[in-house]
Every structure is written in structure tokens, then in C-alpha cells.
């Protein structure tokens, strides 16, 4: 290679590298990417978690324990372990469809659309919330409002507005995402701009080999003492989960062995 050609190539490579770096930093600041990054970080390619859920109301409280498997953005299986009354009940989501299994009925029921707005297991999450956990990525446009500093991390405050015909009831959402992809807060606003409910990170720790929001709370803002808290007890990420996990037969008959891969 001639000297001039080599230096030309080096120069080109340097420029491309610089360009790439520039793009990387720019990408880091692109709110859509930040949001997708947070969701992907939370769900990972695949995951297996053991979750404790506490539903709290002014006059009662209920705690349950469940195991959850997720794959990609859309598939998930949740099976209840405790309390004994609910043990064995499970919810399967594949694509846009959801099924419920009840061991007492020994039956799998496909969730009709009329049930989607109902609350899941009495919590402050609806079946729709569960089904549409990825909708923040696809159905919104995002705007970086500001960048805060907290505990030595940069926290991106992002305002997300639903696309015109997106099936989203909220007026807008406000997200606080840390620079290490942790979703610290998600506030849901009605179309008059009033905040209606909020999902906030309560505890951050290490789980499954990464820094993770180990406890989060969903609360209704106009009703005092109404919240649901989710705490991760165990998590493994990036496992190779067989496709058979996310099937109706597995929903009905859990195979042992995929519990602790």
C-alpha cells in the first residue's frame, strides 16, 4: 500500500471512529434510546425472577410470592407460589394475548378484552399494564426535559407523549431514568395534566449480577394509602429459556427444572 493511501485510510478510520463516538454520545442523549435502554435493562433478553408483591389498602394488606419468566419485550409467564390459596395460579402472555390458569378450576381461560382493564390480582396494576409494559417504547414520543444529578449519577428526566392514535389512555408520562439504565420513577398523567399514578423505585441493589431496582411501588396519587409494592428476591438474566416455557401446556402443567436454571 502506498504511504499516502495508508495515511488516508488511517485518517478515514480516525474520522469514522470519532464519528462513531460522537454518535454514541449523541445516542446516549436521545430520549427514545434512553427509554428503550431502561426497559431492555429491566427485562433483559430473558429473565427469571422471584418476586414478592404486597398490595396495601387503608384497611387491609396482602402479600404474595411469585415466579416470573420473561422473554424479549412481549412474552412472560407469572406463577404464584404463596399464599397457599393462590398457589399454582398463573398468567401467560405471548405476543398480545393473555391467558389465566387456575388450579382450582383446572382450566386455562383466555382473557377477553373486556377484562383487560381490570386490576391484576387486586393490585394497582391492570392486566393491561402487564400486557403493555413495552408500550412506552413503541407508542410514545420522548423529550428530554432536563438532566438531574443524584447520588453521583446523572438522572434523565424524560417526558413521553403518546402517539396520536396509540391505545394509551394517559395524557403523558414522566420518566426519571438513571444513566445506568435504572428506571427510578414513572408518573402517569391524565389528559388535563394531573398526575394520577406513579411507579417509583424504593430500593436499589445488586441482583442477578447487575445493579437493579430491587423494590418498586405503584401508588394512586389521589387516594391515600393505596399502593402495591413489588420486591425482587432473586433474579437471573440472559438465561436460555426453552420456547416451551411460554406455552399453554406449560401454563397448565409447570415442568420442574426451569425453576432454577
Amino acid at each position: 500500500m502506498t504511504r499516502s493511501l495508508r495515511s488516508g485510510l488511517v485518517a478515514l478510520a480516525l474520522i469514522l471512529a470519532a464519528f462513531g463516538a460522537l454518535k454514541a454520545t449523541a445516542a446516549a442523549d436521545d430520549p427514545a434510546t434512553i427509554v428503550k435502554g431502561a426497559i431492555d435493562y429491566w427485562r433483559d433478553v430473558t429473565s427469571y425472577t422471584v418476586v414478592e408483591m404486597t398490595v396495601h389498602r387503608p384497611d387491609w394488606e396482602r402479600a404474595s410470592l411469585m415466579r416470573a419468566w420473561t422473554r424479549g419485550e412481549k412474552d412472560s409467564l407469572v406463577r404464584f407460589v404463596k399464599p397457599a390459596r393462590d398457589a399454582g395460579s398463573a398468567t401467560l402472555k405471548v405476543g398480545d394475548d393473555m391467558w389465566i390458569f387456575s388450579p382450582k378450576l383446572n382450566r386455562v381461560i383466555k382473557l377477553p378484552f373486556s377484562m383487560m382493564a381490570q386490576s391484576w390480582m387486586g393490585s394497582d396494576f391492570s392486566y393491561n399494564d402487564l400486557a403493555k409494559s413495552d408500550q412506552i417504547i413503541h407508542n410514545f414520543t420522548h423529550r428530554l426535559v432536563k438532566t438531574d444529578k443524584q447520588d453521583g449519577h446523572a438522572v434523565y428526566v424524560i417526558e413521553s407523549t403518546p402517539l396520536p392514535n396509540a391505545p394509551v389512555i394517559w395524557g403523558k408520562e414522566r420518566l426519571r431514568i438513571r444513566d445506568d439504565h435504572l428506571l427510578l420513577e414513572e408518573t402517569f398523567f391524565d389528559q388535563d395534566g394531573k398526575p394520577v399514578k406513579r411507579l417509583s423505585a424504593v430500593k436499589i441493589g445488586r441482583l442477578g449480577g447487575k445493579v437493579y431496582v430491587t423494590s418498586m411501588r405503584m401508588e394512586k396519587l389521589d387516594e391515600a394509602d393505596h399502593w402495591t409494592e413489588i420486591t425482587y428476591r432473586k433474579a437471573s438474566f440472559g438465561l436460555s429459556l426453552p420456547d416451551a416455557v411460554f406455552t399453554l401446556s406449560n401454563l397448565r402443567n409447570p415442568r420442574p427444572g426451569w425453576e432454577r436454571p
Binding site: 383487560m116 403518546p162 389512555i169 402517569f188 389528559q191
Partner: protein, 408 residues
Amino acid sequence: MARLALLLRLARRSVLRNRRRTLIILVAISVALWAMIFFAALTRGWENDVVHNAIFTLTGHLQVHAPGYRDDPSVDHSMKPPNATVAQLLAGTEVAAWGTRVRVPAVVMSEHDTAGVTLVGIDPAAERGLSFIADAVHTGRYLDSPDDRGILIGRALADRLGTGVGKRVVVMSQAADHSVADRGFRVVGLFEGDREATEMAYVFVGRRTAMTMLKLGSRVSELAVMLRDRRQLPAFLARLRTAASGLDVQPWTTLEPMAQAMVALGQAWIWMFFVVMYVAMAFGLVNTMLMAVMERTREFGMLQALGMRPRLILIQVVFESCFLLAAGAAAGIGLAAGTLSLLHGGINLSILAQGAEMWGMGKVIYPAAAVVDVIGATALVVVLGVFSSLYPAWRAARRVPIEAITRN
């Protein structure tokens, strides 16, 4: 002929002779007729409301569906759009308006609440003259086209969901492939129905938007037709059934059987009331005529002695009652016309709204006097009134002259 004129003059003079008595019986006749017409108008107003609601809410004069749709009005029972034969029939002169719709159960969600509704995908232009929706939007705007991406919801539903014009709601339903179909719609207009139930039950979107959302392709749920003249329904129905063989074609009377039943019931009540009022009035009329006749025995006796035949006396008395009846009827009709024009804007039932809904009425009832009722009531009163005055007339006519003259 001259005799008739004379009798008329005599009759009129007798009637006017005793003003007070004439006035009193006139009041009785006119009140009776006024009450008859008014009650009939109220009942007809109610019937019209019920029938109008049955036809105009969405049903039309007849509807076409895929077989099985009426038992299970879901996306599973959709049909292809009208074929060439049917289209030709629909282009005929008897048809005032027609349109196809997508119509399936759905759920509407806002930030605050959820409601079960029927999602109706329409061609906005086709609904003019076919159903109430084209004229029912008073806030915001009507839909532009079958591709319009907005949604029309009822005012009561908007209140319940805490939403309004300019806001978005999410509609969820089942698509043709059984997946969950959901979509955000911007509320572009609020409609008002005659009944709150209508406002809560239906939401309207563009038909093509609905087809896309539900993955229907070009299939629809129903075809509704409005004829120019309701009486042509049976004939048209037969031809449409032949043209649309394999599909379920039904008239509004089958789709909304209660409306018909109410009309029949109302009719019966009207005639019962007519008869009662007539009898009540007839007593007074006969009594009055009798008295009028009795106190003129001398006069009649004299006329007879002078050569007037009994038959003519009878006719004269009958003429007298005719005058009374005609005048009373005119006054009664006038009173009724006056009262009805005062109530032209309708009687507002909103205080008793739930009670009104129980009887199938909307928020306002518009009394409507049907010509057939006015004529019927008047004919009943006048004709039967004349008939009942035959007795006094006969009594007047049969006096023997000498006895009559010498009677004190």
C-alpha cells in the same frame, strides 16, 4: 229547499234564545272534545317517540345481517358488502337512505374509568336521513368520512368517563382473528340522544378505521335501509330478501317488537277515552235538548196546528243540536289547537326522566294531534250527538196540537 233554510233559521234562533243554557252545554261539548284531542295528541306523541326511537336510533326500516349476527352480534358474524343486485335495489326510488356499518361490542377506557359499549363504524354521509347520529352532534364536530380517525361519544358517557372533546380514549375489542384489537381515538364530538341509554351505549367511528382496527378487510356487520314511505316496507322487504339470499333481512317491527306493541296499546286507550268522554257529554246534551224541547211544547204545538209536519219539527230540533255540536266542536278543536301550539316545544320530562324511560319515552314528549284522531273525535261527538238528540226531537214532534196548546 226554502223550507230547509227556514228550519235552519228557526233552529238557530231557538238556540240563541237561551244564551246561558246554550253556553253551558257548549262548554261541556268543547271540554269533552278538547280533552279527547289533547289526550289523543299526548298518546300519539308518545307513540311517535317510541317508534321514532325504534327506527331512528340505528335500526332504520330494515336491516340485513349475516346469519347468526342477531344472536351473537360480534365480529365473527360479518358479511361482505352489498352485491350488485342488492346495490341496484338500494339505488331505487323507494329508498331514502341506506348505509353499511361495522357494529361490535367493545370497551372504552379513559384515564379514570372504563365502560362497555357498542362500537359502530359508519360512513358519516350515509347516516344522514338514516339514523339520529348525523344530527345529534352538538359539541365538537361530526365525523368527516369513513376514514376519520376521531370518535363520537355520548354526552352522558363522556361525563362518566371524565373525558371530553379533544381528549383521547382507548377502544378495545376483538379483531376478526380473535386477537385483542385496541386503538386510541381522539374525541371529536359529543352527541346527544333522546334517551340517556343511547348516549351510554354507542360510540361512533369511521367505518374504514373500524375495519382496519378489527382486521375485517372489506366486511361489515350490518346494512340498514330507510325507505321514503314506511308503507312500502313489505314489498321492498320481499325483493331485498330475494336479492340478498343467504343473509338475514328483517324489518324494524321484528327487530324492535316492543314499539309495535306500544302503538297498539296506545290506540286502544285513545278509543276507550273517546267513548267515555262522549257518553259523559251525551247525557248533558240529551238533557239540555229535552229541556229545550219541553219548554217549547206550546210553540211546537202551534207550529203543528199551523200545518208544520211533525217530520219537519224533528228536523228543526235535530238542526238545533247540530248547531250546538258544531259550535262546541269548533270551540273544542280551537282550544285543543291553542293548547297544542303552546306546547309546541314539547313537554319536558326531565324531572321524571327515569320514569319516562320506563315508559319508553325520551326527555321531551311532543304532543302530536293526528288528523285521524281529530276527525274521529269530532265525528263521534257530532254524529252520535245528533243520534242522541233524536229522542228529544222525536218527543218534540209527536205532540198532539190541542193538548200542546192548552198545556200549561
